[in-house]
């Protein structure tokens, strides 16, 4: 019983009457399936990357050309997806303000695993030109497990493609596991997030 309660999240950010409206389960870690099965599945995952583009920063402007005839991301099995439920790759489009961080966390948590994060531009690494802004965060991977950083201000679409290809290689090699990392270090991530986001009116984990 006690163990079960430990698995529950406190959801302290929610008023009492709203608590039943949100799921209070903790995220879990997952073991890979058998070696060859997982390898096959990873191949499929790598070749069908559905993007949730979160164009909060100016970097996102370089995401759009990917869909055009010139860069044609579809040929690598990349496709935009309008809902986080179906997307597998979260592309963070640049600097992350306090306000957008909250939404990004929510969207990331709503994605189904395995899920990957590509952070776009210098701002996500160290804040870039906003490093001393009162309103942006500096290091994204304090808040979300980032798989690939693509540097530049802003990075060109070619750089993005390179980043995606790197991600594909990592997936195939089973080198990246952001979902499990997030679940394992959930309390640390959550503490970091809550340090930034003061008006935490969401559940602790957005299923």
């Amino acid at each position: 019983m006690e163990n079960k309660d430990k698995m529950k999240l406190a959801n302290d950010g929610l008023p009492e009457h709203e608590k039943p409206l949100f799921c209070d389960a903790r995220p879990q870690t997952y073991k890979p399936l058998g070696k060859y099965v997982e390898k096959f599945l990873n191949w499929a995952r790598a070749n069908s990357l559905w993007i949730l583009g979160y164009g909060t920063g100016c970097g996102a402007i370089e995401l759009r050309p990917l869909m055009t005839a010139r860069f044609d991301m579809f040929r690598w099995g990349l496709a935009p997806r309008p809902t986080p439920r179906q997307a597998g790759v979260f592309v963070i489009g640049g600097y992350m303000s306090v306000k957008t961080l909250k939404r990004v966390i929510r969207s990331y948590e709503q994605m189904q695993g395995p899920k990957f994060v590509i952070a776009l531009g210098s701002c996500t690494i160290n804040g870039g030109m906003y490093w001393d802004s009162y309103n942006t965060i500096n290091r994204l991977d304090h808040y979300l497990p980032v798989d690939i950083y693509i540097t530049g201000c802003m990075p060109r679409p070619e750089a993005l493609i390179a980043g995606f290809n790197k991600l594909k290689a990592m997936i195939k090699a089973q080198q990246t596991d952001g979902q499990n990392e997030y679940a394992r270090n959930f309390d640390w991530y959550k503490a970091n997030q809550k340090k930034i986001v003061k008006d935490w009116n969401m559940p602790d984990y957005n299923w």
Binding site: C23, A25, R106, M202, W207
Partner: protein
């Protein structure tokens, strides 16, 4: 036998005696007074009994010589009959006036006695001058009695009355003297025997003057403003006397003069009577004062009675005239006499001027009395007025006077409109203050009501051959009413037992198609009634009307004669109307419903009358023999049934009626009562088949109406926000399909109609019961206020889910069978465009069905419903009985299809083959069983795949949705439900603008405006009224062609 002259003796003697003995105290005087009235009543009672035993007409001679040298009286059956009621009414009226008589001067007693004597004299005397004298005696005592109230209003009214009465007697006197001058006689019998003398130029003028004087006394429209004022202003006890016994005397005098009237006058006089009937009722529409309203109704009834007295003269057969007099005129007379007196007395007890101030719904005695009198006046069964109208209309048709049926129908509808509106409003208005009922005041209306109830069998004509069971609905309702002391659930059980027993009783009588209908009505009725047991809170009148409704529904298919059919039909109409009226906001929809239903009933009645006219018999079978009237009967019946089916154009009663009725009743309306129109069409087509009018085949026309009903019903259902309205329109749409398929007049078509009606009963029962259960828990019928209830009410959800799959016709459930049969039948018949449109309607059904289930059960649960529980078992059990039935017939369609097809085969040859579970028509085939199996198979495969991996599924809560990276704010703003099909409205919403509702609203508005216009002739000025009388006389004079 007591010489009737003693009536005068008693009256006069005690009238003179009273002031003398008044010295002994008023109680004594009153004792003598009541004693003498009782004595008078006893005399007439004795005479009436004697005539009942076969006594002959007796002439009583006075002054020791024979006429013409003396005045003679006549006591015959009719006289005795009228006087019986007059003196009974006098006694009751005197009892009612007890309080007034106690405090007023003794002269009031004397006046009352002279009044009674005058009326008795008017009835008995055969001397025309004596008639004048008695008229004056009656009038003068009446004037004085009106004045006794001693207030400005009654005095003003009385004065106007005197002016009018004086004018009338002036003309009467002139007429009498000229009649004497020309015939040399004052004795009516002698004058009649020398009738030719009067047919001379001067004679006609003399006769005209006499007749017109009595016409004025009968208060013809529009020369009757003074009478209205009297009705309104006089003491209600006096108004009751004027409306009942004085009117009775006047009508009888008019009746006495009828043999003198030249035939050429009859038509015009009938017309004036009918005009009075129609226009008084029309003017009554706008009336707000209760007693004046009753006045309008009285005047109308007198007009009708006068017209009827003349109309029956046109019947060729002497026997018929006699029957007509007893069955129509006497019934109308008794009906009006008791009901109107009763209502006036009631108005005195309530003592509220404005009709809209009446409210006494917590005092059952008053409610019951009011109901009896109003129903009697409107002519609802079983009261004499019902039989009178039935006989009148059939006889009129028989004697080829169809034209006169029209004003009777219009007038009756208008009268029903204001009386039933008044009834509905009064019953629905919450009572705030207790009505104090003095015992002496309640006794007369009570007795009148009792007499009305117990007297009705003697007016039910053609009882021969009419099965007693057609009165069972009434009996069952009475039994349940008497069991009122029982706990409510017990009464419900008794009601279900009665239904079961009734089902057992009629089972041997039904076979084939009838059996299918009986199955629907009885079995469906029992199952649906179970839901009504959910609450133990007392429900006045609920079980009574429910059992009446279901039983009368079950009786209609068993009717062998049109009389039986119509009686059961009216019972159904009345009981369903009262059930709607019970609903919380039922007043207005109930009125619309009853108006349309009565209209339909009158159309059906006319059709039956025409059929009777041609065949001379009432058997429904004879509809197939019709020749001359075939087309009109066909059209009238079809129109009547279309109204009942709420077809396009006459559907506006349906949504309100279904929606505002109590939630437990609605499934009975939608699932069962709507089917009765289908039975009507089966009857119509079964007996009359196909008929062609001009270039139109009527069934084709009906088919088009059906398919448009299906289409527009579905379309309107799409745009409803109220769940019950949505379902109501859905029922309308489904009925449309049934009309369409039954109009096909083919084996497949009828199979479709019957199959659909049975399955429709199942799924509409489920849907409405589910809705009832939900509404009982959450207390709203607005769909956008619901949402997410699937987690709280899973059983209701399953039932609704099954139902909507079935309604929409998606395989593998039984609804598909209906659709498949329908299209196959339509294409087989060659009704291709109808098939296309009904397919469209079927597709539109998806819209409202999805909306139904989505906005209630899916989406976001509202905070205030978080603690809601599943509906009570009383709702769930019947639903799951239906679920079981649907699953069974989906799996094994043969269960229902084979009996239906066999039943239909008695009408049409079948082209359908069976191969195991496969039904094969010329066009296609369908194996419900295999479809079910395959569907289950293909359902299992992906389900197993998901279940294998069910471990990885995390159950989440309602706000765990993707919401553009935000969290939802409130369920209300997240639940997409209001104006669900906004874009659809934008695209084709223009098709369902409320044009038909507007049309009917303007019909109502026109009538009310007309009413408002016409009543302005009643200026309230006595001189104007006198002028009306003069103009009336002049117009009548020129129109009668007296030269």
């Amino acid at each position: 036998m007591v010489n009737p002259i003693y009536i005068f003796v008693i009256a006069l003697f005690s009238a003179f005696l009273l002031p003398v003995i008044d010295k002994l105290g008023r109680k004594v005087t009153l004792g003598v007074f009541y004693l003498s009235l009782t004595a008078i009543f006893a005399v007439t009672l004795l005479w009436f009994r004697a005539f009942g035993e076969g006594a002959l007409i007796e002439n009583i001679f006075t002054a020791g010589s024979l006429p013409p040298f003396s005045i003679n009286l006549r006591m015959g059956t009719i006289e005795a009959f009228i006087m019986l009621f007059v003196n009974f009414g006098a006694l009751l009226g005197a009892i009612y006036l007890y309080g007034k008589l106690l405090e007023n001067k003794v002269y009031a007693l004397m006046l009352f006695l002279t009044l009674i004597m005058g009326v008795n004299g008017l009835i008995m005397t055969r001397d025309i001058f004596n008639i004048f004298v008695f008229l004056e005696i009656t009038s003068i005592s009446l004037y004085a009695l009106i004045g006794i109230k001693q207030d400005a209003r009654s005095l003003g009214a009385g004065f106007k009355y005197i002016i009018a009465g004086g004018l009338a007697s002036a003309f009467l006197l002139l007429g009498i003297i000229y009649v004497y001058r020309i015939t040399g006689n004052l004795n009516l019998d002698l004058i009649i025997s020398e009738n030719p003398l009067l047919l001379s130029k001067g004679g006609l003028i003399a006769l005209f003057l006499v007749v017109v004087a009595f016409l004025i006394e009968l208060k013809p429209w529009p020369a009757n403003g003074w009478a209205l004022d009297v009705y309104e202003a006089a003491e209600p006890g006096i108004s009751a006397m004027v409306a009942s016994l004085v009117a009775a005397g006047m009508v009888f005098v008019f009746y006495k003069f009828i043999p003198l009237l030249p035939h050429s006058w009859h038509g015009m006089l009938i017309l004036f009577g009918m005009l009075t009937f129609v226009f008084s009722n029309l003017t009554g529409l706008k009336q707000k004062n209760a007693r004046r309203l009753l006045g309008y109704s009285s005047i109308a009834q007198m007009g009708l009675l006068m017209a009827v007295l003349l109309l029956v003269r046109r019947f060729n057969d002497a026997m018929d005239i006699r029957y007509a007099l007893s069955d129509i005129a006497a019934a109308l007379f008794v009906n009006h006499f008791l009901a109107k007196a009763g209502l006036f007395w009631l108005s005195g007890i309530i003592n509220k001027e404005k009709a809209r101030d009446w409210s006494f719904n917590k005092q059952p005695v008053l409610v019951l009395l009011f109901a009896v009198f109003i129903f009697a006046l409107v002519g609802l069964p079983p009261f004499p007025g019902f039989w009178a109208k039935w006989t009148l209309i059939t006889k009129l048709a028989q004697y080829n006077m169809i034209g006169w049926i029209v004003p009777i129908i219009i007038g009756s509808l208008l009268e029903a409109a204001y009386l039933l509106r008044w009834f509905g409003a009064t019953i629905k208005r919450e009572q705030t203050e207790q009505v104090i009922i003095p015992r002496y005041k309640i006794l007369p209306p009570l007795l009148a009501a009792i007499v009305l109830v117990i007297i009705f069998p003697s007016f039910a004509p053609y009882m021969t051959g009419m099965k007693t069971m057609f009165f069972f609905p009434l009996l069952a309702a009475a039994v349940l009413w008497l069991l009122d002391v029982m706990p409510e659930r017990m009464r419900g059980m008794v009601m279900i037992l009665i239904l079961a027993a009734f089902g057992w009783y009629i089972y041997p009588l039904a076979k084939g198609i009838v059996l299918i209908f009986e199955f629907m009505f009885i079995a469906g009725g029992i199952v649906i009634s179970l839901a009504s047991l959910n609450s133990a809170r007392p429900k006045q009148g609920y079980w009574e009307f429910l059992v009446m409704l279901i039983m009368s529904l079950a009786l209609i298919p068993l009717a062998k004669s049109s009389m039986e059919f119509f009686l059961a039909w009216e019972f159904m109409t009345v009981s369903s109307w009262l059930l709607i009226l019970r609903g919380k906001n039922g007043e207005k929809p109930a009125l619309t419903y009853i108006m349309f239903s009565l209209g339909a009933a009158l159309l059906i009645l006319t059709a039956f009358a025409l059929s009777f006219a041609e065949t001379g018999e009432l058997g429904l079978v004879l509809l197939s023999n019709l020749n001359i009237y075939a087309i009109p009967v066909y059209i009238l019946l079809a129109l009547g049934f279309l109204v009942k089916a709420a077809a396009m154009g006459v559907h506006i009663w349906l949504p309100g009626a279904y929606s505002e009725a109590e939630d437990e009743v609605t499934p009975i309306f939608a699932g069962m009562m709507s089917k009765i129109s289908l039975w009507g069409f089966i009857l119509l087509f079964g007996y009359m088949g196909n008929k062609v009018l001009g270039i139109f085949e009527l069934p084709v026309l009906l088919g088009w109406i059906g398919v448009f009903t299906a289409f527009f019903g579905a379309l309107m259902a799409v745009f409803q926000e109220d769940i019950k309205y949505l379902l109501a329109y859905s029922s309308m749409s489904q009925l449309g399909y049934m009309i369409l398929s039954v109009s096909l007049l083919s084996h497949l078509g009828w199979t479709t109609a019957l199959y659909m009606s049975v399955t429709h009963l199942f799924f509409k029962g489920m849907l409405f019961l589910a809705v009832a259960g939900i509404v009982s828990r959450i207390g709203t019928t607005k769909m956008y206020e619901m949402g997410g209830l699937i987690k709280k009410m899973p059983a209701s959800f399953i039932s609704v889910l099954i139902a909507i799959i079935a309604v929409s016709g998606v395989p593998p459930l039984s609804g598909f069978g209906g659709k498949w049969l329908l299209y196959t039948a339509l294409i087989e018949k060659g009704w291709y465009l109808q098939a296309g449109l009904s397919f469209f309607a079927g597709a539109i059904a998806f819209l409202y069905l999805f909306r139904l289930i989505h906005t209630i059960f899916l989406g976001q649960l509202k905070a205030r419903f978080r603690e809601v529980k599943e509906a009570s078992l009383w709702y769930i059990v019947p639903q799951f009985i239906f679920v079981g039935a649907i699953m069974a017939i989906s799996m094994f369609p043969n269960l229902i299809l084979k009996p239906i097809m066999a039943a239909v085969e008695t009408q049409f040859p079948s082209h359908v083959n069976w191969d195991g579970y496969t039904v094969i028509t010329a066009l296609g085939y369908w194996n419900g069983n295999a479809v079910m199996m395959i569907t289950m198979g293909v359902f299992m495969v992906p389900l197993i795949w998901l279940l294998v991996r069910v471990n990885m599924v995390q159950k989440v809560e309602q706000f765990n949705i993707v919401y553009a990276a935000e969290r939802p704010d409130r369920p209300e703003t997240t639940h997409f439900a209001y104006n669900f099909f906004a874009h659809y409205q934008k695209a084709i919403g223009f098709l369902v603008k409320e044009q038909i509702t507007n049309f009917w609203n303007s019909v109502s508005e026109w009538f009310h405006s007309l009413s408002a216009t016409f009543r302005h002739i009643y200026t309230g000025n006595g001189q104007t009224y006198a002028l009306h009388i003069i103009i009336y006389i002049v117009v009548l004079y020129s129109l009668l062609g007296v030269k």
